[in-house]
Symmetry: C2
Subunit: 469 residues, 2 copies
């Protein structure tokens, strides 16, 4: 059902005062759809009306899906008791995600209302740096002792697991409280009642540390097909758990960031239609201006050689072709290398292997592109797309020389652009910068410089004398 | 532990003939790590040796993680009984993924060995088109009747669930075999023994159809935080289930595809270092050549106006600046819109809203960039980065006019590039083409044409007369 249909149906039911009808609609509709339907209602009163009809668990679910702005509006109308009930039904990591965006006085009010244990958890989570494992983990997990039997374990999970974010993965500790394994709920279901946990748990579990980069954690989830992963403190104690639903968001966000940066725009985290124009300008304009400033080098080179251009204007016809081909080729390599690094297909120690492979690829591409461009330019001059009739280029020999100038420049450009495009991401990584942000502009700038210099120097010192100009 | 360490340790244990030692190493090491360690062993014999030490379940896990080439090598050495045992322990969707890459005679052998039921499942799955829900689903799920109690349900799951890919989500059907809900295993664990399933199941479940695009399915997993989703046939019967681990792969692949295409290279599905050079060339070279051919329009325009350039070479100094700024700005918009469409932040009926928003953003960017470029060019001429001393441009008034020419061109270019960059993805989507593939090259080409024409027409009919040239 479309969100708008749900909204209309809700309003109609409200008009009829059919509370039971609203409840049954809630029952068959996912909470995020209800949240979106009541988010856009004109009066907060209406939103509150529908919000309060759901049971307490449903309310917490709907609340988590509302926009931060709407959440704040609602909180202002909430009693302390209502806030408490939502806090109790919510996962600590979701609460922290919201609190990060609230004004300080609202955060203070909520922390005051929260029970002591939860307050402690929230405060811990609030302290982890963005994009670390700590910032996506939750403290609500189930851990059991390794000397239990399956029957005892199930009883313990039934008693303690309700508030956990997942019980599909249970963490097993020894008597010294060190983690020794993970237990999948399905293995527990299939096991006999009196089987010792230690027999059915996985000893080959994967874990991470609170300070680990969330992208690395996501790669491990993907590699090992995990549902949940243990998070350890620096002193190797279990302090939290990351679940797959949060990792899906991490994967999408990290990909979006790479996509944006590789295409010379900053990542917009909010949906496009909800993003204010001012924010869109901030994400786009700085890149355009910086790239324009970085073009100072090509401008300088072109300006220096303007006499050559004045002598033979046809030279300037081919500069965009050369610069674009170099930019495209460098961009291809950067894209491939940045993504491979992000997905941990190789790491920094493989730089030698990668450069050697790129060199061979680049040499082939250089050869192919040079050969193609030579033929293509001869064709363009033959059919008159490039008009050389008014210039000093008259014979077919002259035309071949000009095509050869462009082809040789492209050969050098292809090789250099790919080498630069593959080395820069490694350099960025070594400097602990985001490769996707740095490499695009710097590759383009360097490739422009190299290709223009090659072009005009080859012209001045090789081809111009050969043409007798 | 690093893969190389694992490999060395395995070989050492083999030398000592310490089979128990190998078994304990298997126990604490994830199967994908073991697979990678034995993948690269020099002799297939060694690989087989280690492979046969694991129990039958572990073998199937390791086998699934090996490269398709290595799988084929092993199959050649396998007895029919060994193949059968791996088939029995594997999920149908994993088997199909591998079979897709095997030669026909090997597929025939495997289908012959497979038990009848499995053969039927495999044949069904092999028939779904790539990138549809059917191609990522598995037929191994648990479904139960809605009139059971929780205790009966758990018994049924224990009896039947072992071969299912997931038991965390169980599908509930009524007596007419229509699906009426989903049941989370955790709700089952927390429920009382005699509670009717119908009371604790989710009636607000989300499903898809076999022909749905996998990207849309992935968006629903993300939106609704699902672990598993029911797949329906065209006549609305439950035929399979998609699990979150397969969706994580879909999300990464779809993002990689967008990243590659937006950056004018085809997506390389294998890890970079394993991809043969020939394949890398095929992914890169066609784009460069096509883009070079598409530049025929700008070449034509530049060639047509070469007299203007011959008259005032300084004009050609600014063409790359204008073309790049237009390309960057169009690329920004395309990137934003392509991703928003992929993540279903809006759909085709929102085209009006998007264009209107983009128009306002574009007008602002045009204004800012024009103003900045005017000042920047004046600065470049003032400090001599652009050398105008040998040209007809002598007074500050002349310099201002040239800067104004570039600034006005940029104003038009910014607006047009963003409008083109946002309209094309919608057009591509309407034509059922991948927006990321089509839009990059076409945007660049159109923007180049518009910006160069604007530049030279403004020069010829407005600024040239004003300068008295």
């Amino acid at each position: 059902m479309e969100i708008e249909e749900i909204r209309e149906q809700l309003l109609e039911l409200k008009k009829k005062k059919d509370v039971e009808g609203i409840k049954s609609l809630f029952e068959v509709t996912p909470s995020i759809d209800i949240a979106e339907a009541i988010e856009e209602l004109e009066s907060v009163r209406d939103t509150l009306y529908f919000f309060r009809i759901g049971d307490v668990e449903y309310r917490a679910e709907v609340f988590a899906e509302l926009s931060v702005d709407k959440q704040q509006e609602l909180i202002k109308s909430f009693t302390d008791k209502e806030i408490l009930s939502i806090l109790e039904e919510s996962y600590a990591d979701d609460i922290v995600d919201s609190l990060d965006e609230y004004p300080a006085n609202m955060v203070a009010r909520i922390l005051n209302i929260a029970p002591k244990d939860l307050r402690k958890d929230i405060n811990t989570l609030l302290n982890y740096k963005e994009n670390t494992a700590g910032s996506v983990m939750t403290t609500e997990y189930v851990s059991i002792n390794s000397d239990l039997t399956t029957k005892q374990a199930i009883e313990l999970i039934r008693a303690k697991g309700k508030s956990a974010e997942t019980i599909y993965t249970i963490f097993v500790r020894d008597n010294k409280r060190n983690m020794v394994g993970t237990l999948n709920l399905d293995d527990l279901i299939f096991a006999k009642d009196d089987e010792p946990i230690i027999e059915i748990m996985n000893k080959d579990f994967v874990f991470c540390h609170v300070d680990d980069d969330q992208e690395e954690v996501a790669n491990d989830f993907k590699r090992y097909d995990l549902n949940a992963m243990a998070v350890f403190s620096k002193d190797e104690k279990l302090v939290g758990v990351i679940t797959i639903d949060d990792i899906v968001d991490v994967i999408v966000n990290e990909a979006n960031e790479d996509i944006a940066n590789l295409n010379k725009v900053s990542n917009i985290e909010t949906p496009y239609l909800e993003t204010p124009i001012r924010k869109l300008l901030l994400k786009c304009v700085p890149w355009i201006i910086v790239l324009m400033i970085l073009q100072v080098f090509s401008t300088l080179i072109l300006s220096t050689f303007q006499n050559a251009i004045a002598q033979l204007a046809i030279l300037s016809v081919f500069t965009p072709l050369i610069m674009d081909a170099g930019g495209n080729s460098g961009g291809q390599t950067t894209t491939i290398i940045v993504r491979s690094l992000a997905l941990e297909e190789f790491d920094q120690k493989d730089v030698g292997k990668v450069v050697w492979k790129e060199f061979r690829v680049a040499a082939c591409i250089g050869g192919i592109v040079a050969a193609f461009s030579f033929c293509w330019l001869m064709f363009e001059m033959a059919v008159g797309i490039v008009n050389v009739s008014d210039t000093a280029i008259s014979t077919w020999g002259d035309k071949a020389l000009i095509s050869l100038l462009v082809a040789s420049t492209l050969f050098v450009t292809m090789i250099m652009s790919r080498l630069i495009g593959c080395l820069l991401p490694f350099l960025a990584k070594a400097l602990k910068k985001d490769p996707a942000v740095m490499c695009g502009p710097i590759t383009t700038t360097l490739v422009d410089i190299i290709s223009l210099l090659t072009y005009f120097l080859l012209w001045t010192y090789v081809f111009c004398p050969m043409l007798g100009l």
